[in-house]
Symmetry: C2
Subunit: 498 residues, 2 copies
């Protein structure tokens, strides 16, 4: 033994909030993304992708639940001292892209992109610091027909990935209506921007904390079950009632909802404009035939982001699942978006209308798994056939065998470890193989290979050996063929267990 001190062993681990992805997840995601892409392409959207790193100032400060600069963002300085950041969503980079390539792009400009985004936040269960979004945006269209189109496309997308009609709803609202309500309760003007944001985020928690929770958050504040206190918006009772009248303005049909909203914003020009836009969207939804519960006006939806300026929308899955605490809950939101007319104009000094929509990819994937969607259930490659190495000096020959299998399109592997027969069989089991190919010295002498059907073999291991057909089945589970018939024999075994 040498006296040199051993170098300290490194710990193999990931930073909190980051995760590896195995073959099942990768394949299922790929399949789901392909379906989404198909739908977006059909609507004329085209792919454009931006890099992961942007100038920090170009991204802006638009994260929800974050009031201090750069909180929530991974940032670092370039060698010329300029600050760079990892993108925290796909919308801010798209705004930069459109502004940079404005003249070269067709307008309106429909585009889509899937990509990883990063949040420098405290991770928790199901809350990661790196996650994937799939966005679609229409830039340069002032008409709410663009928002209506994205809502209907969202419905088509959910159905195409396997969510049944009736199991989802696309909810639409309009920030201008909320602005009208806030104006009416005296929260208009630049000086109230902070309080408006507090109100916005209180309403956005409706799903989580219910109307009474929102009432607390609009008033003095709210203590959550863990004892954390969230400061309230300090509105008076009349103002709170008016805000809650807004969030609960949904009627049985769109007409009723719109009438309720018109009442809540009475006297506010901005609010009235918002209701008119919702009315136009509702009419387009009817014309498209999506008024069968697929796309509905719902004033309870506000979205947590500050930059929305008009219609906002959210895709909610309505079927029930059992959550981690064993409670039965609605699956909930998997996507959302809205109109952000101010983002591109930050760069251009002229108004550039835009609206867009973002799918939470792992949320949607979790939903598809929950309903056992065939799209993700059958994703992934077939388990490989394993060619065992019985005699190490013959490895070139075994490699020829596996080469022939691959040439025939059969996913297969040569065992490349250094262990014996038993470990090799265990390896094949671990790979989920249905079949192994064996050639020991006896078989080689006869120019044969042995094919072992691992599925049948496992069944026989627990079978009654006195059964009449036991020997026949055993002969099916393991049999020798001339080497030239290897492919044919392997195909036969694989076909047994499709």
């Amino acid at each position: 033994m040498s006296d040199t001190p051993k170098p300290q062993k490194l710990l193999a681990r990931l930073p909190r909030g980051f995760a590896d992805r195995g073959p099942g997840d990768v394949a299922a995601t790929e399949r789901m993304l392909a379906k989404i892409r198909e739908t977006y392409e059909l609507y004329g959207f085209e792919a454009v992708e931006t890099p992961f790193v942007e100038f920090t100032d170009a991204l802006g400060k638009f994260l929800p639940d974050q009031d201090r600069p750069n909180e929530g963002v991974f940032s670092f300085q370039d060698d010329d001292e300029q600050w760079l950041s990892l993108r925290y969503d796909l919308t801010a980079p798209l705004a930069r892209y459109v502004a940079e390539n404005f003249d070269a792009l067709p307008k309106p400009y429909r585009s889509y992109r899937a990509g990883w985004v990063f949040r420098n936040e405290k991770p928790g269960p199901g809350r990661f610091r790196q996650f994937m979004q799939f966005d679609a945006d229409t830039v340069g269209a002032a008409t709410v027909a663009a928002d209506a189109e994205i809502c209907m496309m969202a419905a088509d997308t959910l159905e195409r990935v396997g969510i049944k009609r009736g199991d989802y709803v696309i909810k639409v609202n309009n920030r201008k209506v909320l602005d009208g309500v806030l104006e009416a309760i005296g929260l208009g003007g630049e000086e109230n921007a902070g309080r408006r944001l507090t109100v916005l985020r209180a309403i956005d928690k409706l799903d989580k904390v219910g109307p009474e929770g929102v009432r607390d958050l609009l008033g003095k504040g709210r203590m959550d079950p863990s004892g954390d206190f969230t400061k309230g918006a300090e509105l008076d009772i009349a103002a709170i009632d008016r805000v809650l009248a807004f969030t609960s303005a949904k009627g049985a049909r769109a007409e009723a909802t719109l009438a309720n909203l018109a009442e809540v914003v009475a006297g506010s020009p901005r609010g009235t404009e918002g209701v008119a836009e919702l009315k136009e969207i509702a009419a387009l939804v009817v014309a498209g035939g999506y008024d069968d519960g697929r796309v509905v006006i719902d004033p309870a939806v506000v979205r947590g982001l500050e930059y929305y300026t008009g219609p906002v929308y959210e895709a909610e899955l309505t079927f029930e699942v059992t959550n981690d605490e064993g409670q039965i809950v609605r699956f909930g939101s998997v996507a959302g978006g809205g109109r952000y007319d101010g983002l591109v104009s930050r760069f251009r000094g002229e108004p550039v209308p835009a609206t867009g929509f973002s799918i939470g990819v792992s949320r949607l994937l979790a939903a598809l798994k929950a309903i056992n969607s065939p799209l993700v259930a059958t994703a992934g490659a077939e388990a490989p056939v394993v060619v065992l190495v019985m005699d190490r000096s013959e490895i070139a020959h075994y490699q020829q065998l596996v080469g022939q299998l691959r040439a025939a399109g059969i996913r297969s592997e040569l065992y490349l470890g250094s262990s014996g027969m038993k470990a090799q069989m265990k390896y094949a089991d671990r790979r989920g193989s249905r079949c192994v190919v064996i050639q020991g010295s006896d078989e080689r002498a006869k120019g044969e290979v042995t094919i072992k059907d691992l599925v049948l073999g496992a069944e026989l291991a627990g079978a009654d050996k006195n059964r009449e057909d036991y020997l026949a089945r055993q002969a099916e589970a393991q049999f020798a063929v001339p080497e030239a018939q290897t492919i044919e024999a392997v195909k036969k075994v694989l076909a047994r267990h499709r």
Copy 2:
């Protein structure tokens, strides 16, 4: 006009070395990746993906051309002060992954992944700070059959994406042979690690600077045409000759190369071991039938990374292209890899053999574009049909029209801008549309739509109006049909221009 000062306009631009990707590139890459994936799956490799961010210490310092810690890597501190980095390749994260999940993984463990990596380096033409790699690795196989398999798989992969046999070569060498040479010239031992690395990187520049350039780099140093001076390894003439005898040891056939190498390393146990391994690989290549010039032993290949411990390999495209300076050059390297038996064991304190291979995705894509490979040439969605908006009050009806086209599987768009007929036609041109659908008030009154064939229309614009068939062709380029026949008519026009 208000007196409020305008907020300063942001500049829409990307940090140097980062780039956006348009629809053609995204689609072509996607198609190419799918083909690579197919090949790897056939060989039994399975997908696994790691996140973009790792603990800096877990990544280690294995970048080429970088001797100072963390140079070349984007790093930032977590809120608990620990250093995190963006991955600079996919090998170091895989080593961490395997070490972390060692007991749960089948061994040998074949895996693959495509992913973006980041280098905090000075960008240049064709040199980005974010780029994609596609890796395949076999961990837990000490036999060089694993290296041989990856070399043959690399050949299959290149052919499957459209590189013709004869237009590429997979070159194989062995670091142990080079180690033997270095031992023989007195550069063995821990104390010479730095000089060995200098020699390694000098040889790695053979392609770029030629044998005379390498001779300078092994000696006093070399001044490149731009006037930059690279310090040399300060070897004496005899040592330089021996190193160059090694790099030029390639014979007409593998047998000759191996005999030359055996001579160069005579007396060095490690060198002799390396030659024996190359001999084993050569035999497997023959058995697989890849000795027809697809996989060759070539001592000029050493790879620039320090962590390789045995076989190294490189995929080179041999066809010629015209470079940016107008010179005709070989396309060159698109992928490479080798055995890195020390990387996983950094975490485990026990030897874990591993070998792997990385494709430079944008390099390979550029190659496929250079040879006009059908795989990438035909990638991307069909241009959409555009339904014009002639009467804004009828937008719901136009939306129904476009909805019907989409339901029939025809990629189509409703014009969502606010411009008139002329601008809408220009928009359709910009989108590359072959066909637009028009319904003005006249057509609506008659229950008709007008279909305009933009391809034929463009041809006719420059045609001889006195030609006999001019009117007939004009009638084909623009014609009215009952609204109920819109889909049929659009399909007819699209079929003209496949």
